[in-house]
Amino acid sequence: MKNQDLLNLDSFETDVAMHKLKMSYLDLVNIYIQRIEKLDSKYNVFITKTFDLARKQAKFTDNHPTEVYLPPYVLKDNIITRGIKTTCASKILENFTPTYNATVYNKLNKNNGILLGKVNLDEFAHGASTENSVFGPTKNPWDDSRVPGGSSGGTAAAVALRMCKIGFGSDTGGSVRQPAAFCGVVGLKPTYGLVSRYGLVAMASSMDQIGPIATNINDAILGFINIMGFDPNEATSVDTEPKNYWPILKKPKVKKIGVPEEFFGEGLDKEVKKTVQVAIDDLQKCGYKIEKISLPHAVEYSVAVYYIMQTAEVSSNLARFDGVKYGYSTHNKSKDLKDVYMNSRGQGFGEEAKRRIILGTFVLSSGYFDAYYKQAAKVRYKIKEDFDKAFEKVDVILTPTTPTLPFKLGAKTKDPLQMYMADLYTAPANLAGIPAISVPCGYVNNLPVGMQLMANSFNEDLLFDVGYNYEQSHNWHNKIPII
């Protein structure tokens, strides 16, 4: 076995292979570093490389073996890390170094995690293409003239390019699942409250969740169990007993999979539709019962509700960046305090962040609050109700993850509403707080297609059950982009 072959194994197989080859973690980290150095200039994945730290952490792991094997990983650069720059891909935080750790990072450190670096995203996670980054766009590993999706495009691209086995992103309206689908990898958005948001730079607090991205289901589970769990620092954190998340091949727990017709209508690319339909037939062959269901409000209203409630929360959460305590500031050039606010924010935020803050300020402003924000909350209730009814009949819901194949760089940057439509199938799960996963289910002209599985709150194990049984009857997770 060659060293490079290790990059294609899952974490457990890697562990076994390392023992056989008498390899240390330091050796493994050096293989990844070599790979990153070779590919990063072409794909623009990393904002900050932490190779010295990774080597140090690897040496520590070599001397302190643990039972939980955690392969080298990357973090989206909106998860804060003490002493390591956390930029949110923005000018306003370009030189910001946090003074404490996100809970997720603390948990990974506790389990001998090895951090390779902080990776690219849309500024403050606002976007579906990783083009809104002050550090330039990340390229799609399957076709470098296309976007990797977003906003966790750096994380998904890093995993697809085998620069790491597991990456962590954040998902507010699809920002883990959509780039996972566009890069041909697995991406999970956990149940709201299961993974601590403490130290995740807040975008829309009622929807944000950190989730793992990996090439296969087992590594996604490994990533998930390493970051989940109650956190006293987070007021929406849920204290619940972890389940046994490991699936069993050919012994499906899930009986019925629901397919909502609304997710296969207008706006869905024909080739994506065909690919997902083949996957549904294959699942039937795996022994799952498929049932047609209806979610009347989800697709019809989710993007509208999402872009009202999310921007409202963005306008409030991003108010803290004011040029006073940290971040980009015009303190020395402004005449008074208001000027410091106006100019630091005006010069420090990119166009999309500003657009969302302005729109969010509008929907919360006097005279419009009831018509927009409050009305959106009502429709959000209806969307949740649709899911509650559906889960009385089926265990898992299956849809396409994205309406289109990965699009060309620059194709949607001039038309924000078109960009927002990328969230069409993913935003409903965030609005309802339920877990959802994107699993690779085929290729069209060598571009990946993802299918989305959604389950009721806390039923991540059911998503892994279907995902794993599907994955093992195909070979999509072993397909690697030709570089």
Binding site: Y100, Y192, G193, S205, S206, P232, A235, T236, D239, H297, E300, Y301, V303, A304, V305, I308, S315, D322, G323, V324, K325, Y326, G327, S329, H331, S334, D336, L337, D339, V340, Y341, M342, N343, R345, G346, Q347, E351, K354, R355, I357, I358, L359, T361, F362, S365, A371, Q375, A376, A377, K378, V379, R380, Y381, K382, K384, L417, Y420, L431, G433, S457
Partner: protein, 97 residues
């Protein structure tokens, strides 16, 4: 719903964000476009509301956490005597009353 450049200016002041002339024009166009799209939510008639999928909100204890002061100050734009320097909050005339 049409959002005018003047409304954008009003919102930019509320949100404390300076916008360029071209941004004001662009945002008035984009936000009008987005508001036209979201208009459809008004068709849904229902009373119940959902603001967050809160499964169990609970109150945190009010506890002081310790941070390294010098580490915190490293990020500050302007520091004087170990404190963050801020522009005057009150203008002179505020005290003339």
């Amino acid at each position: 719903m049409k959002i005018t450049k003047k409304q954008i200016e009003y919102l930019s002041n509320l949100a404390r964000i300076e916008l360029s002339t071209s941004q004001k024009k662009l945002f008035s166009f984009h936000i009008s476009d987005i508001l036209d799209y979201v208009e459809k939510i008004k068709k849904v008639k229902t009373k119940k509301e959902l603001y967050a999928p809160s499964l169990n909100f609970w109150a945190q204890k009010d506890e002081v956490q310790d941070y390294d002061r010098s580490e915190l100050l490293k990020n500050a734009p302007e520091v004087e005597d170990d404190q963050i320097k801020v522009k005057a909050v009150f203008k002179n005339q505020d005290f003339d009353l």
